[in-house]
């Protein structure tokens, strides 16, 4: 446990010693603000909720989370530090989990810095803060799922750009599987069971429940299994590199 924290601490430190963290935080906050208040018609909606805020997250994260995750393993491989790290007395899975956790904590921090949105709705009206809390939980899990996928693609290559693009494509699939235009298209030639199965793989379907204020164990399980699967795959990929 302690060794996981040691690695995670170093990773977090690495974000903040480079401009990456600050650039990311600023862009993330600017974009959430823009999408919520301008593109999301926050004020015109006339409702005391953060639906306009959360609704954009699957798309916003699509670009921003892979930007955080792309360096996780690609950078270690490029600079040769992976060899250093994995020859220290640490199991590969511990290193994978530690690096994932560090980035997830960083994303949680970014998400926490959106608190002015909560303040705003509470000042302007009387929102159901339970729904908002559920929305945050969902958003955090969504970020985790994307991040795990990004960690996986990051392990595939020593080129961060390639890792980024692969992650975006995979996350895009996770969105599109449940995106209405796509499911509509599917219903034309596939049976409803098939459509439902495909849609069940979508983060949007599961993310929506959180936005309604429901924390369903099935949705929790979905996000946690995406994370678990992607991290497991990361382990397999890294083992592959090590065996040559």
């Amino acid at each position: 446990m302690r060794i996981i924290w040691t690695i995670a601490k170093r990773e977090l430190g690495a974000y903040f010693t480079s401009p990456v963290a600050y650039v990311f935080l600023v862009i993330f906050l600017l974009l959430t603000g823009f999408f919520t208040f301008t593109a999301g018609n926050f004020f015109e909606r006339g409702e005391a909720s953060l639906a306009a805020f959360f609704g954009w997250h699957p798309w916003l994260y699509l670009v921003l989370v892979p930007a955080v995750g792309m360096r996780v393993w690609a950078e270690e491989r490029r600079s040769g530090t992976m060899e250093l790290l994995l020859t220290m007395p640490v199991a590969t899975w511990q290193a994978i989990v530690a690096k994932f956790l560090a980035s997830w904590i960083f994303l949680a921090l970014a998400l926490a810095l959106t608190f002015p949105a909560i303040v705003t709705v509470n000042v302007l009206g009387e929102p159901d803060n339970g729904i908002i809390a559920a929305g945050y939980v969902g958003s955090f899990l969504l970020a985790g799922a994307y991040l795990a996928v990004s960690c996986m693609t990051s392990a595939m290559t020593r080129n961060q750009v390639v890792a980024f693009i692969l992650a975006v494509v995979m996350c895009l699939f996770l969105i599109l599987a449940g995106f209405n235009p796509v499911t509509d298209l599917l219903t034309r030639w596939a049976s409803p069971e098939v459509v439902d199965t495909v849609a069940a793989f979508s983060v949007v379907t599961h993310f929506d429940t959180f936005q309604r204020g429901v924390i369903d164990s099935r949705d929790l399980l979905f996000f946690l299994s995406v994370i678990g699967f992607a991290l497991f795959a990361t382990g397999v990929i890294i083992r592959g590199h090590r065996s040559g």
Binding site: T17, T81, T87, P89, A91
Partner: protein, 306 residues
């Protein structure tokens, strides 16, 4: 401390390491020589548990690296190729991290960091970030990391690469000093390093061990070993050839003994001959043999050998 049996590593169809066996005990410094791509780094990666071997066994301190990797890794300090380290960290931060990874916390960590900082002369760059360091300091920082837990086994992949002659000298001295109570393996392709730091050397070529011995033994394999080089006024090949095969050099003669073991007798015979003939000796030297020549002879592909 390190025991390697029949180690094999294949990458696709290529056998990078092909049945390598050796052992290193405490107090030994093993130099690992070979041309580029001979399998040195791959072997070291298998010793340190980074790469699983295709076949064969590696045991460190009695622990099988494949079966109990964590126990084995705890005993090892490793300096990877080109001194890979986290470039965005400061030297202090990096060493603190390495110490914590080795389970050293608080006071123990401070003590360990201070010890290696002193050992590797890093005092002046402690607060500097690693990517601003010169190659020599970076190398020493990574070496400090490898030494942070005072490991019983030290594995170093080209520890002196990219250092200037003074720094090379320092690192070699350090290796020799550390070698007194550790088992050390280090790879190099600088042959003088073998003399400067090793108690034993292995030459590896195309994945196979082609020579294994003390630097002196390896040198004996040289064709030159035991030959006498004489530069003397009045000397003639005719007279000298009675002692051994003679080769004319630029202003000197080199006499090779008929048999390798008779080196000292040859030297004596030359002295006697010189005295008898009354030649004016300008210089006389008994060749120890050149590692360089041995290395080239056994690692050159057959087609290139004369």
């Amino acid at each position: 401390m390190i025991r390697i049996e029949n180690l094999v590593k294949t990458f696709g169809a290529k056998r990078a390491v092909d049945g390598v066996s050796f052992a290193v005990e405490r107090g030994e410094v093993l130099g690992f020589l070979g041309p580029n791509g001979a399998g040195k780094s791959t072997t070291m990666r298998m010793i340190t548990g980074f790469m699983p071997p295709t076949a064969g066994k590696v045991a460190v301190g009695g622990y099988d690296v494949a079966e109990s990797p964590l126990e084995a890794k705890r005993l090892i300090g490793y300096l990877p190729e080109s001194a890979a380290s986290y470039a965005d960290m400061t030297v202090r931060g990096f060493l603190n991290f390495a110490a914590e990874m080795r389970g050293l916390h608080r006071a123990a960590r401070r003590k360990a960091v201070n010890r290696v900082v002193e050992l590797c002369f890093l005092e002046s760059v402690l607060g500097q970030s690693i990517d601003t360091l010169s190659k020599g300091y970076r190398q020493r920082t990574c070496l400090a990391q490898a030494l942070i837990h005072d490991p019983e086994v030290l594995v170093m992949d080209e520890p002196t690469e990219g250092l200037d002659p003074n720094q090379k000298h320092e690192v070699r001295n350090l290796i020799r000093k550390l070698g007194k109570n550790k088992a050390i393996v280090f790879s190099t392709h600088i042959l003088e390093e073998v003399d400067a730091a090793c108690t034993r050397a292995i030459i590896i070529d195309r994945g196979k061990i082609v020579a294994n011995g003390t630097p002196e033994e390896l040198r004996q394999m040289s064709a030159l070993a035991g030959a006498v080089t004489l530069s003397a006024d009045g000397a003639s090949a005719e007279k000298l050839s009675s002692l051994g095969r003679v080769e004319q050099l630029d202003g000197a003669w080199r006499i090779y003994p008929h048999e390798k073991g008779k080196a000292s007798e040859l030297a004596q015979a030359v002295v006697e001959l010189v005295a008898r003939e009354g030649w004016k000796v300008e210089g006389m030297y008994r060749e120890r043999g050149e590692l360089d020549e041995v290395f080239r002879r056994i690692t050159l592909p057959d087609t290139v050998k004369q």
